[in-house]
Symmetry: C2
Subunit: 501 residues, 2 copies
């Protein structure tokens, strides 16, 4: 009895979850005892994957001596037409028992994390096993030593860029503040000052836009390591998507599961940030941490605790990590969503009269902080940053970076739009970042680049009944309807304090 | 723009996970912003489901105005050929934020658990969300009040059998001890004594056989509530699969995720056991708790802690719960796996000369304990149980129960068998329950009814090199090979202490 079946593409996109389709009377299913949802190992030449089995009724679209592979299974196996794959039971993932240990509250070591990272990258862990791992690490369930171990395990599983003994700057914003899109501006200023800043960014996890989503509206961001090096050697800086590189690659697998779960873990966050920074070759990192009641970090105490953990683990792996705590009370800029945030970024770089002052000011703070680190702390960083922005040097540098990354493009505008107006007169008192982010996501952000929210009023503004508070920009009519329904059910997203009678 | 598509069966079995297939140029995918792995709500008449989207390449087996449903999606929606379903974004599951709260270490209340249970039953929570919930409850992470709340939430979500004010006995074994198949014997004895014992059992979660798997070898177990009542009204007892009834139905959903994760949670365990017992209408429950270094409960202290939690939560919901702590050092009986365990059960009931003495003795202890509870504690329970077994009354009752459940059948034997022999002479010193269970599962148990392990030696036996220690019974040749490879790599499954030279 052979364990071989002819592989055919199923033409079914299951995103990153590999699926294999076999017929119910397939001889291998019978011999091996495979049933629906069994995890099956498929070997082809030097490669192998573990895929989830879906069983196809006999007499359907699949022949009994064939196995069909989902798009991701086909490509990760490197299959070609006519190939015959070998089907067996996978060995139990060695890391599954380590995940259980963590769920029971045990401390894990670097070899444990290395095993989990390797099995994650090899697709030997199922989605629910990865979900269990992430849940077991939620909140404060990883201590400093474990966080270092996870950081090293994630770092060692991927590539590392090497810039010799040059000074390499980097920044990172701990998310949760919609529209806080300082990165393209900061990179433009710092690179204009001649400092190396090879910035990789992520796509949104739970927010309406990640920096990579926003940057992608203006220039290609899917650069490989060679292309990144070419851009940075020419322009000193770049803003690319980290996922197209092999830097701490397990992070993206974890994010795929974290995204729908919407869970935060201090240890995972620190390991995610620092493993990416170390992998890209940075040695000085400035962390922007907005603090506010509806931001990701909700109190100064939480910011300090997270900052200490980032600095301590950074020190352990040879990274100099500095903190910049900022006000996270309300969104930054006007736009929330990739294209709407890109418009804000360009308005600041272009010194337009109505450019969002808060985004400009935050970007100067961070760029100034990085220039201070570079100069050894002469305290003139912010004024140098301001000069580089106001002179147009930063705009010129940004356009050069976009050109080097593959060409600049102007952000577009969504066709489906709806104004949400004030129900009563008063003073705009507070903006709930989480509700606003939720509305932007229902409108289609970040999947739909032009979707999101544009704030038409700022905190402290006096508004009249019927005056626009914000505009929903949607990717489709259906999404506009969902976002509208949610917005109308949640008028507290923007709270208006009525004037005394 | 319509949200309707014609539904067709995909003929793909994805087990309980509903999957919908739509084409990449489907107008609804475009309008709604659906992509691979998006969760999609489908409404048809009065029913609706949430299914995971898999995207099919254009020009393949699916027309653009059609959506194909997996077997479970088709049946839970009650779809018929020609039906047109309505496709929309599902509302976010209200319980997802409660799951996050638990992951962060917050305490949940009964309304929280009720929400989680309802969303689980409605398939509004994804597998990874349920995995996160179960992981967040691992170990001791649910306290007594939370455990009561979860128990009530699970109980209230299903049906309850009502036996008026009659005394209704029940037993439950906290698993982890392979082959410990006392239930059919205990039910036969207690029912022969005229006491009501409407026993529902589960299929295996992480073990090579559950009681329902074993009983199913001898009689049908998929009875509905009406059939169960008929059997119990005639014969006083039954042994049926709980999953065919609607008693604490969320439990099966949790088990589907727990099974591959192999995670234990005291709170989940207590809620699972007690919600089922209360739902079936029992009022006196005897819990068998085998304790041993490789059993599920590893120490007397752990047994006492679990027993106290079971008794305390039982009291809170009106159940009288008694404990019977037993020796869990090694497997009970000879067989491990559904058919092999059924053979042991029948040997005891039939008073065969080579019937496993340990299984007989344990069954008498438990049946005696239940008869003592019934009599108010006269202490004669065990001798009455013994008389009922030795007289053949229990065997007669068991055959009558099997007949009432749909007809008795004799267990068969696997065709693929292999003896594992001692490598050296000595005394059989210890049996590792976890390794033995793993080998039985690799051989195909419980999916393959005749697969498993038959022990050919008992602890304390003197064995010679080459003497059989156990026989692997496999469902297929492939599975025999896996089980053999694992057995040969783990000779410590049965450890032999060599005799002094």
């Amino acid at each position: 009895m052979t364990e071989l079946l002819t592989l055919v593409p199923a033409g079914v996109d299951t995103y990153r979850q590999p699926v294999v389709y076999m017929t119910e009377d397939c001889h291998i299913c019978r011999a091996e005892g495979f049933a629906a949802q069994t995890r099956v190992r498929i070997d082809l030449r030097e490669r192998w994957i573990v895929a989830t089995l879906n069983v196809v009724a006999t007499g359907g679209w699949l022949a009994a001596d064939q196995a069909a592979l989902s798009v991701s299974a086909w490509s990760s196996l490197g299959a070609r037409h006519g190939d015959r794959g070998r089907f067996t039971h996978p060995e139990p993932a060695a890391s599954a028992s380590r995940i259980r240990a963590k769920a029971y509250g045990e401390r894990l070591t670097e070899p444990d994390f290395a095993l989990i990272v390797r099995d994650t990258l090899d697709n030997r862990l199922s989605e629910i096993e990865i979900a269990a791992f992430l849940t077991a690490c939620t909140g404060e369930r990883l201590d400093e030593v474990e966080t270092e171990a996870l950081t090293r395990a994630m770092l060692d599983a991927g590539d590392r860029l090497d810039w010799g003994d040059q000074r390499v700057l980097d920044k990172h914003c701990v998310g949760g503040l919609p529209g806080n899109r300082t990165t393209p501006i900061v990179v433009a200023i710092v690179a204009a000052a001649g400092e190396l800043i090879p910035k990789t960014s992520s796509r949104a996890i739970t927010s309406p836009a990640g920096t990579a989503d926003t940057m992608e509206v203006m220039a290609p961001v899917d650069l490989d390591a060679k292309a990144l090096r070419r851009v940075v050697e020419t322009e000193a800086g770049c803003v690319v998507w980290g996922g197209a590189l092999n830097l701490s690659p397990a992070d993206d697998h974890f994010i795929r599961i974290e995204r729908p779960l919407d869970l935060d873990s201090t240890g995972q966050l620190v390991a995610s940030v620092l493993s990416k920074k170390a992998a890209v070759g940075s040695n000085h990192v400035l962390i922007d941490m907005p603090v506010g009641p509806t931001a990701k970090v909700r109190s100064r105490a939480a910011a300090d605790a997270l900052g200490l953990r980032l600095a301590a683990v950074g020190r352990r792996i040879g990274l100099d990590v500095a903190m910049h705590v900022s006000d996270g009370a309300s969104p930054v800029g006007r736009g929330i969503g990739p294209a709407l945030e890109a418009a804000d970024v360009l308005a600041v770089l272009r010194r337009e009269a109505d450019a969002p002052a808060d985004l400009r000011s935050r970007s100067l703070d961070l760029a100034g902080g990085l220039l201070d680190i570079a100069s050894g702390g002469d305290g003139n960083g912010r004024s140098r940053a301001e000069a580089l922005l106001d002179s147009g040097a930063a705009e010129t540098k940004f356009m050069a970076i976009c050109a080097a990354q593959g060409g600049f493009r102007e952000p577009g505008t969504a066709l489906e739009r709806l104004e949400i107006v004030a129900q009563n007169a008063g003073v705009l008192d507070a903006i709930d970042n989480r509700l606003i982010a939720r509305i932007a996501k229902l409108a289609g952000a970040p999947r739909q680049k032009r979707a999101g929210i544009r704030l038409e009023a700022r905190i402290g503004d006096r508004v009249e009944a019927g005056q626009p508070l914000y505009t929903i920009h949607a990717g489709s009519r259906g999404e506009l309807a969902y976002a509208r329904a949610y917005a109308e059910a949640h008028p507290e997203a923007l709270s208006i304090r009525e004037r005394a009678p």
